[in-house]
Amino acid sequence: MKKYVTWQHPKEHMSFQIETKTVLILLGLCISLFLALILGPSLGNKLLSPLEVVRTIAGVSTGGNDFIVMNSRLPRTLVSILTGAALGLSGLILQGVIRNPLAAPDIIGVTGGSSVAAVAFITYLSGTLSLFYLPLAAVSGGIIVSVFIYMMSWKNGVTPIRLILIGIGVSAVMSAGTTFMLVLSPSASAGQAYLWLTGSVYGASWEDVRTVAIVILVITPLVLLFSRSLNAQQFGDEVASGLGVKVEFHRMALLLFSVILAGVAVSAAGAIGFVGLIAPHIARALIGRQFAGLILSSALVGGLLVFSADLVARTVFYPIDIPAGVFTAGIGAPFFLYLLFKNRHQF
């Protein structure tokens, strides 16, 4: 017998029921994330004790490590966690809406759209416009491309497979576009842009932290509101409409959230690949198929994933600072093949 925690609003018609196990796992993930926040700033070339880190963050230390912690390691840790969370959530939404375990923002071309827009912004507009608008550019690129993919996939409705196939085609154009700009830009910036395309939280700033944090804080509750709709959508469009879900409207709204999350993540850390694919699967393995719990846990798992990738990337190979995206892709691509193998009877 599964145990549940139930909460009921005293006056309104509103209630929640969450498995006890889910609550415990979410709690565990939160604690790990908290530990990561302390561990991240303390590891590096100069080792700091966790206590020292806490003191520095609280502002009661001697001040000797202020720069390392507050200007370099803490924002970097935060950005890695936040972009990971954004990507994990973005992937979960896509997999839920498209009803396909292989969907992820980087596979169906959304990240590609954001990357093109961001690289174009950096290459052609960074002189005239402030970098403040970079997230906006990345998100708009993602939105334009995904609207295009959605429209192109439309033939008496959208089938998941057509969406993925057309996404693959569009991805090819997007990567051609980014390559084009990289090849034509001067050598130094090409190296930087290539690094950035692989996905790295190197040089993360407090502005990045703020932008991503705001977007996550706004969008996560909205997605939670749609969690019942997502649950219903898993049974197919007909059943979902039967259960009172406005399928097309909800699908559009959810896709929009997903694209915004992916776009903001790209603008802060570049195209960190496969997190959007893996995080939801790990979350599902942990808590099952109820979206309310999945939404939070995908975000938490995504954050932990990118955090660990970046931690390994910057400490194990010191002094080389390897982009976190190299690690996530190195694990993610074989995982994709495994998923394909596991679902081999479906296609």
Binding site: S153, I168, A176, T179, F274
Partner: protein, 337 residues
Amino acid sequence: MGRYILTSKMKILTLAVMVLIFVLAFISSIIVGQTPISVVQAIDSFLNYNEAVTEHVVVLKDRLPRAVIGAVIGACLAIAGALMQALTKNPLASPSIFGINTGAIFFVVVGIVFFSVSSLQYLMWFAFLGATIAAIFVYFLGSIGRDGLTPIKILLAGAAISALFQSYTQAILVMNEAGLQDVLFWLAGSISGRTLDMLLPVLPFMIISIITALFMGKAINLLITGDDIAKGMGQKVWLVKVVMGVIVVFLAGSSVAVVGAVGFIGLVIPHIARAFTGNDYRWLLPFAAVLGAVLLLLADVVARLLIMPQEVPIGVMTAIIGAPFFIYIAKRGVTKL
């Protein structure tokens, strides 16, 4: 697409016209560019080569190698694509979509970075190895499961293998930043700055593969009616498939070794050729070879003109031409060929 199938006489005539177009494309590839060259100058540079005349140097050192390489690679990629479409019974099959190009690229980058190989003579073996590994992987991943080889599964397998090799290539390049710019241009696909010497080591493989492919038209026609029928008619199906696979690997691998990632030629051209010949591979393959050469030559000429004095990498050009085509076919449905 079988509406325009022509009679044999008309096919010969059409093929002749296409060869003529090819010759025109070849000439335009020699005379058009940042330094315009007249036909007279071009002929003159072949007959009385004079190193003091800029135009002569441009023709012999830049334009001619470029045109020859473009024509050869275009033909190779088109034939590779046509064979793959027959082999997998999938209209979206092509070396770039199925990860064969990225596989070859990954191994070439490994060769350059870890084994310090620089001569194409050895690099091409890395490319062959990569192409083979990717092809085998994709074919088997596409064939596992209850329904055997399905179009969707093999496409997803191709996308996954592509992503896998691409990310590992990125990893290697990011960790070895030196020379990234050189490799990057090659990665993007380019037929400029190549000398004819670079074509020589792979040329025998290409010629043998193309000739073998052209002689296989009849066998392929039988194969695409279905494995069972082909077996019933006495065909050694596995042998035909293996030979086709080897040809694909040689053609795609050697193309990548010379010009890097030039995608979509192998996807687009067989469909255009099919519009003229139907699914008759005896005709389709020669048509594809000529059309592939024409498309790559023209794409290269346009790539020179678009943003003078710089050039659009040819791989970017073919992606821009090919991707809408991919989307069109994906939309029409991948189950019919």
